[in-house]
Symmetry: C2
Subunit: 352 residues, 2 copies
Amino acid sequence: MGNSSTTVNAASQSLDPSGPARMSDVARLAGVSKMTVSRVLAGHSVALATRERVQQAIDELGYVADAAAGALSSGRSEFVAVLVPSLASSNFSDTVRGLTAALEPQGLQLLLGDTDYDLDREERLVRSMLRHQPRCVALTGAQHTAATRTLLVRSGIPVVEMWDLPSDPIDAVVGFSNAKAAREMVRYLQARGYRRIGFIGGAGDLDRRGYERLKGYRQEIRALSLGEPRVVRLGDSPITMSHGAPALDALLDQWPDTDAVMCVSDMSAFGAIMQCHRRGLSVPDDIAVAGFGNFEVSACSHPTITTVSVDAHGIGYRTGETLLAALNGHRAQDRAHTKVNIDYTVIARESA
Amino acid sequence: MGNSSTTVNAASQSLDPSGPARMSDVARLAGVSKMTVSRVLAGHSVALATRERVQQAIDELGYVADAAAGALSSGRSEFVAVLVPSLASSNFSDTVRGLTAALEPQGLQLLLGDTDYDLDREERLVRSMLRHQPRCVALTGAQHTAATRTLLVRSGIPVVEMWDLPSDPIDAVVGFSNAKAAREMVRYLQARGYRRIGFIGGAGDLDRRGYERLKGYRQEIRALSLGEPRVVRLGDSPITMSHGAPALDALLDQWPDTDAVMCVSDMSAFGAIMQCHRRGLSVPDDIAVAGFGNFEVSACSHPTITTVSVDAHGIGYRTGETLLAALNGHRAQDRAHTKVNIDYTVIARESA
DNA sequence: TTGAAAGCGCTACCAG
DNA sequence: CTGGTAGCGCTTTCAA
């Protein structure tokens, strides 16, 4: 990418000299008190004629209510803090969409942040978001710094951890067992006749969910007496498509007779399949490849990729529902800690 | 996806009976006035001993300053409103990362929203975000409702439109000409010897950038006298991988002798290539396929995909810089409207 | 270097 | 159904 050019054109922009309109301006123009304007905005009962006059004044002035003032005065904001490891991952962005679908109709506004699979960054973001007094918090995974936990517990607002089933949750949980899902995939491969099954995943421990899948793979390989686990751990999260090729090479270098590869994610599986093509290996005849996550690429690639489907949107939506229930429910002390178990399914496709 | 199960476990949560700590609580505990606490938080000059005492009180109480109160009092928030069509698209999430890289170190916080390629939704989000008095706004594209424009102009804060070069920008602009980039790809294909070049893209007019690419294709096909344009428009934005297969089929149905396909995005190109494999067509020997965007899949698929590389991260970073310059610069009336032209490059790979 | 008072723009509360 | 008063938690401004 070369240099880019910058040109500057002078121009003017209309702007009220007295600054933006305030509620008192609207009130004066409509000939009512501030309170009446406030009621119109909140949808409280106001005489129709009055309401119309106020609305007209609002439109005329282009009035936009100040949310900070409202939040300060009423003691509650409309924010929901949401933290995901990566916004680019289609599964997490589906989860965000699910959250949006559940929460936006209630007038809540998402305060989104991506942690980049970095627990310290997560802590910084939580701290920064809590300053805005969110009504509740949704975050990803079970692994957090001690400070993050303390911060969240002290805040006293509802918290949901998503995408996992921690044994010691902060508050509520919406997720599934990544280990069990991985075990199910191993059983599927075994049932299809594969016996020398490898696993490729990331090297870091930051991606707890990936680590759980590896754990499940190991457990089930042992349970089915399929010999020594064949594990390649390479690269950091997020696992991208470019992970698959070198990981597959490493696996086949060490265990050339491998007949099936289970990948920590569809991204990696896709990269591995493309590398099989380059090596002249036919999938699944020479080697089977399975993914995880049911990303779009798994349905569109050739061959299509056998994978574990997780209802990412559902995780978001159920999380939204859980948070709403907590908001409309009891005080924190009495609140029950909800645990929502999300389903997953092995999707049999062409690659394994 | 079947049903999911819900279990509920009662548990209690620690919570101060008097609610969260306030600045006055910190002040009392440290034996200073609120002002001194405020100065410590803002990093203003305070005697070291005093500062340490205050900090200790803050830690002890787990005090988190209320951003809404601060914003109200000081008259300015730390928010930057950011709107992209889709958070899942890797190009837009790269842009968001670029924005984050530029703005977070300045203590600014992104208020993120995805418009879902829906101008009315964009308007709603802008309205909702403006309530939080953001310091500035970054949005995608040149197409907005009249109300959105009015809202933004009236707000008087710096605005950047990204990913396009509108002829009548709201304020500043950071982007490139999608039409020119598409023309460059047509010239590339012509230079490689292809003469019967088709184009596949979305049907809707919502994706202005996709439409500009189609326009550029048409212009260059005519300029190079390559016959009648062969255009298939199918499906809505965002264009995903599943777009490519049916679009390719439609194109070859109508113009069976097509020797190259230019796709509105790498997603579509990937789907088209996989469909070629299914049809027994070799890429690029039987038919060439080119994409747009240099998404990860274009570098990892087999064959690798020839595409137009756009510095999506750079768009975000430059936008952040532009906004910061505006914030630190003159008042709106005097401000110059900046125009930043971002580079793009045709990346020659295996598919065309 | 520190403190006291005033007030940001809005909503809760109680009167009328 | 409508209005006045008080005050949310913080920062500004001025004074000490």
